[in-house]
């Protein structure tokens, strides 16, 4: 028996190779019946040049022995075991297969981890939001984070640019959080950004949209105010700019645009929450957007998110007359509201700002409309007053989902 052992071992020596991969490696489970068989396996174990890798070492007859065998040695070891009458079974047919599958699973899990590590169903700080913008930009080749300016307190104004190519394609503008206390809007903008990025290539509508147009998304249009709602006053609405001659701080950024500036529906008192500011575009947060859009020159839609009240509005706010495109905007608004309602039954009222909510001068969509951007809409998201600005976090994703359907409907119309 020992002679046979030596011969076979001799063959095994020649056959052993030193490979980095585990292609063809097999893992056997050996069932020893007695001490004699255990001793034979221990002999096998001592032959280092065979590079047998015992996962469970031979110790006692009652315990199984698991061993990984390099590809080239598999047949020889099996022949040896069979000739000795030692029972075995194959635990792993090809170790590399198993490793490949494991690697793939880990990559998929990491992908899931990475994309679900940001909780879209929760409210976040500005730092966390900016981190997620970085993450989206790094994960998707067609998503880029650009800075269009900085706030009064010198915080960057970050815009996500969604572009699959072309040069200055017709573009859609979407902003959120211009009024900082309207937390569901910044939160929804993040969900929407992730939705668009992850669905490009699989969703027909988003794919055809981004194949023809660019999208620019400003999720936190008023970062100073937003930070202030976290640190000091949850109900803060305005910017945080110092107003010469006043102890009060901040301008209502949605009364500061150059559209009927200073007219009805805005206050000239610095302490007011609807203070229009010393002059149109006095707020750097507003001016940065104005300059960006003017320099781009090819925006076709301007969409802005607010909360609360569940309204879908188009110009005008500064005057109570209908815009020239009234019929088309009303019809498109109704279609979008219908899309919104299709998901959870949430009703949005549709109409001009002036008729629906109040006359209000210096608003962003009035400016965009009067500057040639026909498809200008302002959304007021959930709810209708039960929680108001303090919308529970568990409503963020439903609000974002239904709002997205409305936005999509409008974008599809713009695209076509």
């Amino acid at each position: 028996a020992n002679m046979k052992l030596l011969l076979i071992f001799g063959a095994l020596i020649g056959a052993s190779l030193c490979l980095e991969t585990f292609v063809g490696h097999q893992v056997l489970r050996i069932k020893t019946k007695n001490e004699e068989e255990v001793k034979q396996l221990q002999l096998l174990e001592s032959l280092e040049h065979l590079e047998l890798d015992f996962w469970i070492n031979p110790s006692a007859p009652a315990l199984p022995v698991d061993v990984r065998i390099p590809a080239a040695s598999v047949q020889s070891v099996k022949a040896f075991l069979e000739s000795q009458g030692i029972e075995y079974s194959i635990l792993i047919e090809d170790l590399q297969d198993v490793l490949d599958k494991e690697k793939q699973e880990m990559a998929e899990s990491a992908q899931r981890q990475r994309s679900s590590s940001f909780d879209f169903g929760a409210y976040h700080t500005l730092e966390d939001i900016n981190e997620e913008l970085d993450h989206l930009a790094s994960e998707y080749s067609f998503v880029e984070k650009i800075q269009i300016g900085q706030s009064y307190e010198k915080r960057p104004l970050y815009v996500l640019k969604f572009s699959t190519g072309g040069s200055n394609r017709p573009a859609i503008w979407l902003d959120a959080g211009i009024h900082s206390r309207e937390w569901v809007t910044q939160a929804s903008a993040l969900w929407i950004a992730n939705k668009i990025a992850s669905d490009y290539g699989t969703d027909a509508s988003i794919t055809s949209l981004l194949d023809k147009m660019d999208l620019f998304l400003l999720p936190v249009a008023n970062p100073d105010g937003f930070v202030y709602t976290h640190t000091s006053n949850r109900m803060w609405r305005k910017t945080r700019s110092k107003i010469p001659g006043s102890i009060c701080v901040g301008v209502d950024p949605n009364r500061n645009w150059d559209a009927g500036f200073g007219g009805p529906g805005a206050s000239n008192k610095p302490c007011s929450d609807s203070y229009h500011g010393p002059s149109a575009n006095s707020e750097v947060e507003v001016k940065s957007v104005v300059d960006f859009i003017k320099n781009h020159g090819n925006f076709k839609a301007f969409l802005t998110l607010h909360s609360y009240s569940q309204l879908l509005m188009y110009p005008y706010g500064y005057k109570c007359t209908r815009p020239d495109d009234y019929a088309e905007l009303e019809s498109l608004g109704r279609a979008a509201a219908s899309s919104i309602r299709s998901l959870y039954g949430t009703s949005f009222q549709v109409g001009t700002i002036c008729k629906t909510i109040y006359q209000a001068s210096g608003g962003s969509i009035d400016w965009s409309y009067d500057n040639g951007i026909k498809y200008s809409f302002a959304f007021e998201l959930r709810d209708t007053g039960r929680y108001g600005f303090l919308l529970p976090a568990n409503q963020i994703i439903p609000a974002a989902k239904e709002t997205w359907l409305g936005l999509k409907r409008i974008m599809e119309h713009v695209r076509d």
Partner: protein
């Protein structure tokens, strides 16, 4: 006839809702507007503007049902001085809250220390379940304030209960001293108001001056 989606009718509806919350609200009932179905306005010479409303309401604690009601809201001329006159007729029955009311009453009466709470809901919209009745009583209290202070140029909502402190009384009423934040839609101001509310399971809510 007024379009329900336009703001004049919506503002009048908010007044009617505030009034009704004060009258019929409680720790176990939170009335909310589901839909404004119809609205008319009548201009009455030397008196003011009167709104006739058809409303569909729901109870936030019982959202499968709705109840219809009609309301009349009269804003007086020179309305800075007096509160609008409001009348509301509820068609049908509101869900009974007798049991929940009594339970709440007993719970608060048996507290060793007077209840104190703040920021309801919190910044993230959370209301701890045991504070929901306090939240709903704040709706009743702020309903009174909203009714008393509304004009055709305002639309108030309760934004948050900033602070509430129970004050134990020698009589049978529960007393809650609230500081509520009211959001006024037209000016966009968020204004703090102090309101003292008395409540009893059978006598209902009363704002005390």
């Amino acid at each position: 006839e007024l379009p329900p989606s336009h703001f004049p009718a919506a503002r009048a509806a908010a007044v009617a809702l505030g009034y009704l919350r004060y009258l019929r609200g409680g720790p176990g009932r939170g009335l909310q507007l589901r839909e404004l179905r119809r609205a008319r306005r009548q201009d009455i010479d030397d008196v003011g503007h009167k709104y006739y409303l058809e409303l569909e309401l729901e109870d936030v604690l019982d959202k499968d049902r709705t109840v219809s009601c009609t309301a009349e809201v009269l804003y007086h001329l020179g309305s800075k001085s007096s509160a609008p006159d409001v009348q509301v007729t509820v068609q049908g029955e509101l869900r009974s809250t007798e049991e929940a009311d009594q339970e709440f009453y007993n719970r608060i009466r048996s507290l060793e220390e007077e209840l104190v709470a703040e920021n309801i809901p919190d910044s993230h919209g959370n209301v701890p379940p045991e504070l929901e009745p306090i939240h709903l009583l704040a709706w009743a209290a702020s309903g009174y304030v909203i009714w008393q202070n509304s004009t055709e140029n305002t639309k108030f909502h309760l934004a948050q209960v900033k602070h509430v402190k129970q004050v134990k009384r020698s009589d049978e009423d529960l007393q809650f001293d609230y500081v509520v934040l009211l959001h006024e839609m037209v000016s966009q101001e968020v204004l703090p108001w102090e309101v003292r509310l008395l409540w009893h399971p059978r006598r209902g809510a009363r704002v005390s001056r």
